[in-house]
Amino acid sequence: MNGVPMDIQLRNVASARSISRRRFLWDVARTGAAASVFGLGAYGQTIRSASPAKKVVVVTFGGGARDEETFAEAGQQYIPRMLGELIPQASFFTQVVNRGILGHYVANASMATGCYETFDNFTPVSPAHPTLFEYYRRDRQRGSDDVWVIAPSNGFDRIGASSAPGYGSKLGATMVLPKQLLGGLSKGRSEPFDHLLRDSYEDTSTVMVSDQHAISLVALAERLKLPADQFLAYAANVTSPDELSLYIAQHLMATLAPSLIWVTLHDIDIAHAGAYSLYTGAISRTDRICAELWKSIQQNPEYNGKTAMFILPDFGRDGDFEPGGNGFQHHRTGDPLSRTTWMLALGAGVRENVSVDRLIESVDLVPTLATLLGCNARFATGRPVTEVL
């Protein structure tokens, strides 16, 4: 037996999901939006900002989010900001399929390289193929201050650069792990930040901040021009690690204004603990974070009108009726629902009020962004998404 029947099933499910998502958008957005793109003729009827993007912000709607709790009809209650504020300004891709390994680190690394990486998800290794960050820095001769990755601490610390010959950390993104940063900066302080330093239920192993690393955290904070007191004061008033990531992203935009920011959100992965209300609560928080990030882009003259933002989950989660799984709790079966998600693109050069129904893959993101940013993702296996170019 080969994978062909499964592939047909995957395509059928992805297509059904696409139709369901688009119908839903027609019903919910009520914008006359979601003008479906069936051919080039439809493009002329939609608004597209004149200038192409000079900067790119990518947000992975992290930790695996299903259709049922996002763009399916029952999910609308959890994403009010994306529906109300972002969708009317966006091109919405209704079928984004991830054919790779459904572990968060390896899936995010695959999205960053444009190739399906095959390493063990829980192993601390760099991606084998060059990342978008390396392509961009090498081809455009950009410094490390121009490319930043903000990621949850456990396991993601090597996502910024590959082990590919000719590439690597000298060309990689500058990594910020907000939880480690907070842990380092709050050493010796009396305020409790434990609630923000938690790690996911899936990987509960304790992350130690060594003294040496703490020093490099201080250096990083200086490079970020991060006022420690202000950061700690903010941290004392938020409830989740992803909100720290939002803060760092906003701060970066305000201070260094890099061309490429990649934010990996992860709160949603609390789903592994099996509490549905915590999972949906995290989705609503992520929805809010995405909207706030977009607002910051629009309010910042360095970004407004020059920036394209892409929001997509790394993958879904197991379907309710998949016998090998336990519904939303995990993403272990590899069933079509856990592989099928969506993508929002909005901002400079991106058509508004459009939904695109053709199937694309999560590895298509890198070649697309490479085209936008004027570099060559020469080893990526995905294909550029022409609808946003």
Binding site: M1, D194, D320
Partner: protein, 406 residues
């Protein structure tokens, strides 16, 4: 060259497992290595399997012995055709099927063979299923789920996902619902006795009327989150040791937990099958160690999947709030703070999943299912003869619902 299963592979198996595997070694040798290892993983647990699982294993092997050759070939070839890295196949899969399956799974994902494997496994499952009979009873099963004890009603509609499949009742008198359900369970157990056929799982302390049924007394198997506290804390201790050692990641932790069997912490439970099952609810269940709602949902799933009981009563109670994992995984904790709103939502989803798991069993379509909001007046009934997608605003009692669903 793929190694062949040999009697020496079985030497470390527990006694009954060893005997069973030895008795069926000729049949097992016919199987592709991957399928054989999957079966051996289950056989190795034979000493702690429920009667329904033992019977299922027996039937599978019997089916393999007698099935149409062409049918068998089609299933076997789908397993044999899966590409697996040679170093994985070099593992002693017969002696250690558990670690082998773990390595195999990682390899299948890495080599993009997981879809082919899923497809082969589904094919095999469908063929076995077609041949399967309900081994214990053909009487319709009864499953009742109480949610929301201690939770305010809130504004979100309840049982939304279940409503298309049954009738929603808005004015149910739920007073005394828990002791009444325990009584119903007892009365069914007395007329339809059988080992492990009647279960009551409580997310807090079990109702006093059921306390004397701590294990299998009175033919009701009772599990409560409160009474299992020592087992839960023991597992948390193990998790903490591993996760703070820095020497093992989450996969190793899962492997360690999967390899474990209970010691004295479940000493009050004398039945080894129950003792092991209880332990596994915390070692194999994700989140069961920290959230009672997750425990109840997972226990319901595992009871239905493994035991296939005649009656099942699940009661979701309050779970603790989300806190840092470091705190949640402490054995010495301050008094828990509960999340009443979240607990109701968790229970609602848990009821839906329980119904799905009930439907998967043989005779699922004939089974009777009730979900009730314990602190209010709402319920949902799915049963043959009960209209789908309907609503009833008539006043009624829990007993009425049970009667109408019969």
């Amino acid at each position: 060259m793929i190694r062949e299963l040999s009697p020496s592979d079985l030497s470390s198996y527990p006694p009954q497992a060893k005997q069973f595997a030895t008795d069926h070694i000729a049949t097992l040798r016919q199987l592709p290595a991957i399928l054989c290892a999957l079966l051996l993983k289950q056989i190795k647990e034979y000493d702690w399997l429920f009667p329904a699982e033992r019977s299922e294993l027996d039937k599978q092997l019997q089916w393999i012995r007698t099935a149409d050759h062409q049918k068998l070939e089609s299933v076997f070839s789908s397993f044999s055709g899966i590409k697996v890295s040679p170093d994985v196949m070099d593992m002693p899969w017969g002696a250690q099927p558990g670690p082998f399956i773990e390595r195999l799974t990682a390899d299948l994902w890495a080599t993009h063979s997981i879809d082919a494997f899923q497809s082969a496994a589904k094919n095999y499952g469908a063929l076995v299923e077609a041949d399967r009979e309900d081994t214990v009873s053909r009487k319709p099963r009864l499953c009742v789920v109480f949610i929301g004890a201690g939770s305010p009603r809130g504004k979100k509609p309840l049982f939304e996902k279940l409503r298309p499949y049954g009738t929603y009742f808005s004015q149910v008198d739920m007073a005394g619902g828990v002791p009444e359900m325990v009584g119903v369970l007892g009365s069914i157990a007395s007329t339809q006795p059988g080992p492990y056929q009647h279960w009551y799982v409580d997310g807090g302390a079990a109702d006093p009327s059921a306390l004397h049924n701590n294990e299998r007394d009175g033919e009701i198997c009772t599990l409560s989150y409160s009474s299992l506290e020592p087992v839960r804390l023991n597992v948390i201790n193990i998790m903490n040791e591993v996760r703070t050692s820095g020497a093992a990641g989450p996969e190793r932790l899962r492997s360690l937990l999967a390899e474990m069997h209970p010691d004295g912490d479940v000493r009050r439970v004398t039945d080894p099958v129950m003792r092991n099952f209880t332990f596994e609810l915390f070692t194999a269940g994700s989140g069961t160690q920290i959230f009672s709602t997750t425990f109840v949902q997972w226990a319901g799933r595992e009871i239905l999947r493994r035991v296939r009981p005649q009656t099942l009563f699940l009661r979701f109670q309050l779970r603790q709030t989300e806190r840092p994992m470091d705190e949640l995984l402490q054995t010495k904790q301050a008094l828990p703070v509960f999340d009443p709103v979240g607990s109701l939502l968790d229970g609602d989803m848990g009821a839906f999943y329980t119904w799905i798991n009930l439907q998967r069993l043989p005779g699922g379509a004939e089974s009777r299912f009730l979900a009730c909001y314990e602190d209010g007046h709402e319920a949902l009934v799915v049963a043959p003869g009960i209209p789908r997608g309907a609503t009833s605003d008539s006043k009624c009692s829990l007993r009425d619902l049970l009667q109408w669903s019969t």
